[in-house]
C-alpha cells in the first residue's frame, strides 16, 4: 500500500467540477517521469462513507476538489476530523470522512490535507472554464513541488490562509 494517497473527485461532465479528476490525471502524468513510487491515485465522483476504508495504512492523504468559494487559484489546508451535518450523501466532506474513519477504526486517521481549486461553473455538459484551467495549472505546480520537495510534517509548515498565493513560492 502506497504511503501517499492522492484522491481527486468530481464529475468530469460538469464543467469545473472536473477539476479534481483532471488534477489527478495531470499529476500522474507529470510524476510519471520521475516516479516517487510511493503514491496511489484514486478518483471518484464524490466522497462516500466507504472511502474511509481507503485511508487506512497511509502516511498522508491529499484530497483534491473543486471549490466555489475559496479564493483563486486554490487553497491548501490541513484537515481535522469533524462531525458535520453533511446534508446530502454526495456532499460528504473530507473532514467528515476523517471523522467516519475515527469511528470505524477507533483511532486517528493519517494526516490529511485538502487542495481546493477554485471553480466557476458546474452545469451538465459545460466545458472547463478558462479561469479554472488557469487555477488548475497553478495547483498542479504547487502540488508537484509539494510532493517532490517536502515530506511528512513538512506539509504542515507551509503557509496557509485565503490571501496567500503560496502555490507559486514552491514552483
Amino acid at each position: 500500500m502506497a504511503g501517499l494517497l492522492v484522491f481527486g473527485y468530481g464529475n468530469p461532465s460538469r464543467g469545473d467540477d472536473a477539476l479534481g479528476p483532471l488534477f489527478l490525471e495531470a499529476l500522474q502524468e507529470r510524476l510519471a517521469s520521475s516516479p516517487g513510487g510511493d503514491i496511489e491515485f484514486l478518483q471518484d465522483f464524490q466522497l462516500q462513507i466507504e472511502h474511509a476504508l481507503d485511508l487506512a495504512g497511509r502516511d498522508r492523504v491529499l484530497f483534491v476538489d473543486a471549490h466555489v468559494g475559496c479564493p483563486p487559484p486554490f487553497r491548501f489546508e490541513r484537515l481535522v476530523p469533524r462531525r458535520d451535518g453533511s446534508y446530502t450523501t454526495h456532499a460528504v466532506s473530507p473532514q467528515a470522512l476523517l471523522e467516519v474513519y475515527r469511528r470505524l477504526n477507533r483511532g486517528e486517521p493519517p494526516p490529511a490535507y485538502l487542495l481546493s481549486i477554485r471553480g466557476e461553473r458546474f452545469g451538465l455538459g459545460d466545458a472547463l472554464s478558462r479561469e479554472a484551467e488557469s487555477n488548475l495549472e497553478s495547483a498542479l505546480r504547487f502540488a508537484e513541488a509539494l510532493i517532490r520537495k517536502t515530506t511528512g510534517t513538512g506539509w504542515d509548515s507551509l503557509p496557509s490562509g485565503p490571501d496567500q498565493k503560496y502555490g507559486f513560492s514552491l514552483a
Binding site: G10, R14, F45, Q48, A91, V100
Partner: protein
C-alpha cells in the same frame, strides 16, 4: 387523497415555510408549506429546483459512447444509467439476446450496485431517524451518532457498501467510468482470481444483510402503528417482472397493480411504454408527473422502487428473501403494503436477495465465459429499461444514419415517484404539522417521508461550499416571523 393540498386558494394571504434543501437525500430539492393564521396547512409541495438537461447532454453524441457517458449523469447510481443505456444500445445494434456470460456479468454488476446503494441509504440516511426518533436532536440524526451508539450496525453498513463497490470494480475494471457493458455485450471477462476474491466474503456479506433486515423489522414492529400510519397513502405500483411473475431487476415485462392489488397491466413489452405512460408538466416543479394514461391524471399516478417491486412480484427466486417477503406481506391485510416507511423494510429484503443472487452467480460456471459480444443489424431506435435501486429507469434513444443520437428520453426512478412523494408529505403535514408551532423536529417529519423513497435529485456535482439550510417562516405581508439556520457542523440556531 391529499390533492386538495397541492394548490391553496389564496396563497398570497398565507404564511410560507421553506425547507431548502431537503437533507439526507441525493441532490437538491425543497419543500414549501403554506399555513393560515392558525397554522393549518393549506398547501405542501416538493419542488425539484434544478433543471438537469439530461436529454440535451446526450443528443448529438455517437451511440456507442452512451453507456460510458451516461454514468456522468448521476454520481449516485452510475451503474444503473450505464446498464439502462447499454440495454437500449443493444437494440440499436440489433441484439436482443446476450451471451450467457455477458448477461450474468451485467446482472452481477447490477446486484453489486443495488447492494451498495441500498446499504448507503439504509445505514447512512434512514437509520438516524429510525434509531433515534424523527424529532430527536438534529445534531444526533447522522451517521456519526449511528457509528458511535451502534458501532456494529454502522460498520456493517460501510463494509456492505465497500463490497458492492468491489463487485463493480472487478467487473468494469475500475471504480468509476468503467466500460463494462458495450453494445451487444461486455468488454471484459471475469477471471477465476477475481471471482474467488468476491467469493471469500460473500457469506459474511449475506450475514450482514440478514442483520440489517432483522434490524428494520424489529424497529418497524416496535412502533408498528406509528410506522404504518406515517406517510400512509394508497397508490398503484409499477415495475419490471419476470415472465413467471418472479421478482426481477434486470430484464422483464412491465407490471402495474392498483391499490387493492388488482392487475392493471402485466408483462408489457417496455418498448411500448409511450402507449401506456404519460408525463404531466406542472408550473411549480422541474420534475414531471408521470401517470398511467388509461387511468388518467388523477388516478393514474403510481409508485416504483422497493415497495412496488415487493408488492408486485409473485415470488422472489432466492429462499431467504422469499421467506422475508412472505413475512413482510403477512403484516398487511392481504393486499399490497402501502405505508411509506415500509419502503425501508422492502429495501432490506431486496438487499438480502442481492447477496443471495451474487453468491449464486459467483458459483455459476457461465460467469467465467469469454464469449461476450453478439452482433446484429443496426436499428434506428432503442429502449432500455431496468429496475434501478430507486425504481424503474427508462432510457430511450433515436439514432440517425451517422450514428448520432437525435432524440433521447429518460424517465428516472424519482420522477415516477414524484406525485407519491408529494402525497406523502401532504399526509404528514396534515397529520403532524397541522395547527402546530413549527419546529425543526416537525419539519424533519416531512423529510423522513421523502427519504423513505430514497429519491435521487442529484446531478453529481458537489463542489464544496454549497451546503446551506435555512428555514424561514414569513407572515402574510412578507415579514419574517421566524428563521432557523443549520450550519455545516450540524448545529441549528435561530
Amino acid at each position: 387523497m391529499y390533492d386538495h393540498l397541492e394548490t391553496a386558494e389564496n396563497p398570497e394571504s398565507l404564511k410560507r415555510v421553506v425547507i431548502d434543501p431537503v437533507t439526507r437525500v441525493e441532490g437538491h430539492g425543497k419543500v414549501t408549506l403554506l399555513l393560515d393564521e392558525d397554522n393549518h396547512v393549506r398547501q405542501a409541495r416538493l419542488h425539484i429546483v434544478e433543471f438537469r438537461g439530461f436529454e440535451r447532454f446526450i443528443q448529438g453524441r455517437p451511440y456507442w459512447e452512451l453507456p460510458v457517458l451516461v454514468q456522468r449523469l448521476c454520481g449516485i447510481c452510475p451503474v444503473s444509467h450505464h446498464l439502462a443505456a447499454a440495454k437500449a444500445i443493444d437494440q440499436v445494434v440489433g441484439v436482443d439476446r446476450l451471451t450467457p456470460a455477458a448477461e450474468k456479468l451485467r446482472r452481477l454488476m447490477h446486484f453489486g450496485q443495488f447492494l451498495q446503494s441500498h446499504a448507503l441509504h439504509f445505514f447512512h440516511l434512514a437509520t438516524p431517524d429510525l434509531l433515534f426518533g424523527f424529532d430527536s436532536p438534529a445534531g444526533r440524526r447522522n451517521i456519526f451518532a449511528v457509528l458511535k451508539e451502534y458501532p456494529d450496525v454502522g460498520l456493517e453498513g460501510v463494509r456492505m457498501r465497500k463490497y458492492g463497490q468491489e463487485v463493480i470494480r472487478l467487473i468494469s475494471g475500475k471504480r468509476i467510468h468503467g466500460s463494462a457493458a458495450i453494445p451487444g455485450g461486455m468488454n471484459k471477462a471475469l477471471t477465476v482470481e477475481e471471482r474467488d476474491f468476491l467469493l471469500q466474503d460473500i457469506d459474511t456479506v449475506l450475514g450482514w444483510c440478514r442483520n440489517a433486515l432483522a434490524l428494520i423489522r424489529r424497529v418497524y414492529l416496535a412502533n408498528r402503528e406509528h410506522h404504518e400510519r406515517f406517510g400512509l397513502i394508497r397508490s398503484n405500483f409499477m415495475g419490471l417482472i419476470r415472465d413467471d411473475g418472479a421478482f426481477e431487476i434486470y430484464h422483464g415485462g412491465l407490471r402495474a397493480k392498483d391499490a387493492s392489488g388488482r392487475t392493471i397491466f402485466d408483462k408489457l413489452d417496455y418498448r411500448g411504454y409511450t402507449g401506456i405512460l404519460r408525463e404531466e408538466v406542472r408550473s411549480w416543479s422541474y420534475m414531471k408527473f408521470p401517470y398511467i394514461e388509461a387511468l388518467g391524471k388523477e388516478n393514474g399516478w403510481y409508485r416504483v422502487g422497493p415497495l412496488a417491486r415487493i408488492n408486485n412480484c409473485d415470488f422472489i427466486p432466492t429462499p431467504l428473501a422469499e421467506e422475508a417477503r412472505q413475512d413482510f406481506l403477512a403484516q398487511g391485510a392481504g393486499g399490497p403494503v402501502h405505508g411509506s416507511l415500509a419502503f425501508h423494510w422492502a429495501r432490506m429484503i431486496e438487499t438480502l436477495h442481492c447477496a443471495e443472487s451474487i453468491r449464486e452467480l459467483l458459483h455459476a460456471p457461465e460467469l467465467l465465459g469469454t464469449d461476450l459480444v453478439v452482433h446484429g443489424e443496426r436499428q434506428p431506435e432503442g429502449v432500455g429499461v431496468i429496475e434501478a435501486p430507486r425504481g424503474t429507469l427508462f432510457h430511450h434513444y433515436q439514432v440517425d444514419e451517422n450514428d448520432l443520437v437525435t432524440r433521447a428520453n429518460l424517465i428516472v426512478s424519482t420522477t415516477h415517484n414524484n406525485q407519491a412523494m408529494n402525497e406523502s408529505i401532504r399526509q404528514v403535514a396534515s397529520e403532524y404539522l397541522d395547527g402546530q408551532t413549527i419546529t425543526e423536529g416537525l419539519l424533519n417529519h416531512i423529510e423522513v417521508a421523502i427519504r423513505a423513497y430514497d429519491p435521487c435529485l442529484s446531478c453529481a456535482t458537489h463542489a464544496l461550499g454549497k451546503m446551506p439550510l435555512v428555514i424561514e417562516l414569513m407572515d402574510a405581508g412578507g415579514g419574517m416571523l421566524d428563521r432557523l439556520q443549520k450550519r455545516a457542523d450540524g448545529t441549528v440556531s435561530r
